[in-house]
């Protein structure tokens, strides 16, 4: 081929990759992207930024397919080419590191992703200025990582910072500002702060509606996310029309083979499952599973999620023999994608502390802590399940059972637990009702599963 022929072929292949990717047909897009990479290598050689870009694009497609182990070395290679050719202070080098960090994030390799996101934010800040939208992207991505590992207070601070930069630099009508609001709202949803999430999602919906129109997939995303908040709150009748609208927008704008359309079907089916409408849920779950299998392949975590959801549905319907192979297949995919068991344990020790003296009718506070280290009390460790692939961090429900005490406020507490945080505390305000030896007990649950208990017998004196 002449150089001109090569250039023409590159342009044609590039367009094909973009078209197939936009249609959600990643398998075909990858075939063309591989051809494109080889052609560019032929044209410019190994050390050229264009070759790095071709590696990056191919890796991004692998990442979209959940082929993280294929994507990672390509992103690394692309980053190394950028470092050598552009230098470590160049914003495009930061972009390549950002992409590498994103694949680590997708793999649940948060320890590898975190320093890269920090480095990316720093390079963009220094090279482009701290008010540049790229900086907001760096902060947003780091915040999302912190959300995923349950470091919610840091995540909230960074999301707010990113939102403010985008508001100032892009304006309040810009779709990326809406994206920031959307992500902050997802953080609040993860924390169970549904009442704070709802208005942010509503604002994002309105901006996306005005700026992108009611047929745009981003508008569907915001409807989907708000519907999930309503779903979590048990407000099913409000969730259903939003899910339906999101599904229809995605069907029209992306087509019936697109993974985002599958996500909408999955979520609508999940709502029907929560409502006990199993026969309505089944065809939707099946359709979502089939779309994900075809568009993403059989090794993708989203396909595994579909299999898991279908298994849960069959289990609830009493179709146990159909559920088992689906669970097994989902677990196998997840192990393969992550290179480790998808479920890990966080080990914490519950500890109950209380005032030395209790008196009848005198209000007192008791504290329940989940500590990383065993205390002097001889309590068993609590094993909390942590999934690398789920969007929410473990929530621990604590229930105070103290029948001879009045409780001032709620008798239950919900704590989000993170892997690297030392101690979580819940406090209860109680008023003893009668003198003598009484038992205070706090039962611990995760998603309805009993995980342990801590109790103390305390002596209550007569009122003064």
């Amino acid at each position: 081929m002449t150089e001109e022929e090569i250039d023409n072929k590159i342009l044609i292949l590039n367009e094909k990759v973009i078209d197939f990717r936009n249609d959600g047909n990643y398998i075909q897009a990858i075939a063309f992207a591989e051809e494109l990479r080889d052609l560019i290598w032929q044209k410019v050689g190994y050390d050229h930024p264009d070759y790095a870009a071709s590696l990056n694009n191919l890796a991004e497609l692998y990442r979209s397919m959940g082929r993280y182990n294929d994507a990672e070395p390509l992103f690394r290679q692309a980053a190394e080419i950028c470092r050598k050719s552009l230098g470590e202070a160049h914003p495009d080098y930061a972009t390549s590191l950002n992409n590498l960090a994103l694949v680590y994030y997708s793999m649940g390799r948060y320890d590898d992703a975190e320093p890269l996101f920090c480095q990316v934010t720093e390079i963009w800040g220094k090279s482009l200025g701290e008010d540049h939208p790229n900086c907001a992207t760096g902060l947003n991505n780091l915040a999302e990582l912190y959300r995923s590992i349950g470091r919610y207070s840091e995540a909230e601070r960074l999301f707010r910072q990113a939102t403010e930069i985008r508001r100032k630099s892009l304006g309040e009508d810009h779709p990326n500002y809406a994206a920031s609001l959307n992500n902050l709202a997802i953080l609040y949803r993860s924390m169970g702060r549904y009442n704070e999430a709802e208005p942010l999602f509503r604002k994002a919906i309105e901006i996306w509606r005005r700026s992108l129109g009611e047929d745009h997939p981003n508008y569907a995303t915001s409807l989907n996310n708000l519907a999930l908040v309503y779903d979590s709150m048990g407000r099913y009748s409000e969730a259903e029309p939003l899910f339906r609208q999101a599904t229809e927008i995605r069907r029209k704008s992306l087509g019936e083979d697109h993974p985002d359309y599958a996500q909408s079907l999955n979520n609508l089916a999940g709502l029907y499952y929560s409502m006990g409408r199993y026969s309505d849920a089944e065809p939707l779950f099946r359709q979502a599973t089939e779309i994900r299998r075809k568009s993403l392949g059989e090794d993708h975590p989203d396909y595994a999620q579909s299999l898991n959801n279908l298994a849960m549905l069959y289990r609830s319907m009493g179709r146990y023999s159909e559920a088992e192979p689906l669970y097994r297949q989902a677990a196998e995919i997840r192990r393969k994608v992550l290179g480790k068991d998808p479920v890990d344990n966080i080990i914490l020790y519950p500890r109950l502390t209380h005032p030395e003296q209790f008196r009848v009718n005198q209000e007192s506070n008791i504290l329940v802590q989940l500590q990383a280290e065993a205390s002097e009390q001889d309590t068993d460790a609590v094993f909390i399940e942590y999934s690398y692939l789920q969007s929410q961090f473990p929530r621990i429900e604590m229930a105070l059972l103290a029948p001879n005490f009045a409780v001032n406020g709620e008798e239950t507490r919900i704590l989000n637990v993170a892997k690297n945080e030392d101690s979580k505390i819940a406090d209860f305000s109680i008023i003893p009702l009668s003198p003598g030896e009484n038992q205070i007990r706090v039962d611990l649950y995760q998603s309805g599963r009993r995980i342990g208990m801590v109790r103390k017998n305390v002596n209550v004196s007569e009122a003064q």
Binding site: M312, S321, A399, P403, E437, S447, R450
Partner: protein, 376 residues
Amino acid sequence: MTAYLQKEKSIQKSISKELNYSGPDLELIVQMDPLSNEHMLHFYLHSLRGNNRYNFKNFGVTKLSESPQEKVKEIYNELSEMAKYDLSADEQSVAEARLSSIGKHLWQLIIPKELKDEYWQFRSHTKSLMITSDEPWIPWEIIRPYNDTEVEPFWCQKFAMSRWLSESANIEILPLGIALPVSSSKTDLEHLSEEMDFVERLNDLHKGVKGKRPLQGYLEVLEWLEHQNFSIMHFACHGEFDEKMPSRSPIILSGQPLRPDDINTKFGEGRQRPLIFINACHTGRTGSSLTWLGGWPVCFVNIAHVGAFIGAMWEVDDQLAVLFAKSFYTALLRDKFPIAQAFRHAREEIRRAKPYNSSWLAYVLYADPEAMMLDS
């Protein structure tokens, strides 16, 4: 040229719903301090599923006038007698009526009014029920609700029912792996070899289970319990209950007694949490011990942290015991039922065989009722 993905990529989440296990349909928590002289039972309902949505809601208190130990002992003795003999047709009808009246009496005596009233609300949309109780006496399985117009089945018939102890964590998926039959070489149990053979061949029901030859010696059993990974340990032998020191209640292995106090192990920290089934009389009973509760369920659930434990609260008929074990494992492993449904199925099998014989009500399951034995 190929810059379409080179722009900075910002995570913009669109949430995809993942269905998670959310516990049994209903948990009944019974709080009591077994060391206290006041015998107060406090009742709470808890559920996150479906229509129930209780959030540790209190449903009353029952104050027992004295320790129910002696009264319950009488009931257990009576039920043990009812498991021993074959009866004439007339005697069978009387025995069935007697079982029913014991269940109704317990409903009347133990369940507070608030919970009685609520029962008629939740009964129709509750399939699985877990009772988490620290009291050691009440045979919750044989409670039989009734009112002026209706008589319900026993709780263990009505629900896929299990128990649990409050201090321990339960698990949703029981691991597949090695199945260990345990028996005594010196025994008068007529159907023992049939039961041992069945457990050894559980692989026929599920390829994820690998049966081993029967263990017989005390030391061999302890070695497996303390150091090895396995999925099922199934004992078939004689058992006794020590009222004064429940943690000394023996089962008999080849002439050697094995007692709860002998077991010093913990599963779950790097080891599979297995199912332990002691198919022997009285092994499902607990009682007050010096420091808290004692007995086989306490030993295996609270201390050793097994995934599931099965025992019998009183005497069981040898032939029905084998039928129960075979039906249970078939439903659990071949039909892949959740454990409490498999348990209820097996109970029903032996009830159909001899409804007048109290053996069908004797079995007690400690587990998450929805737990499944899966190759995950």
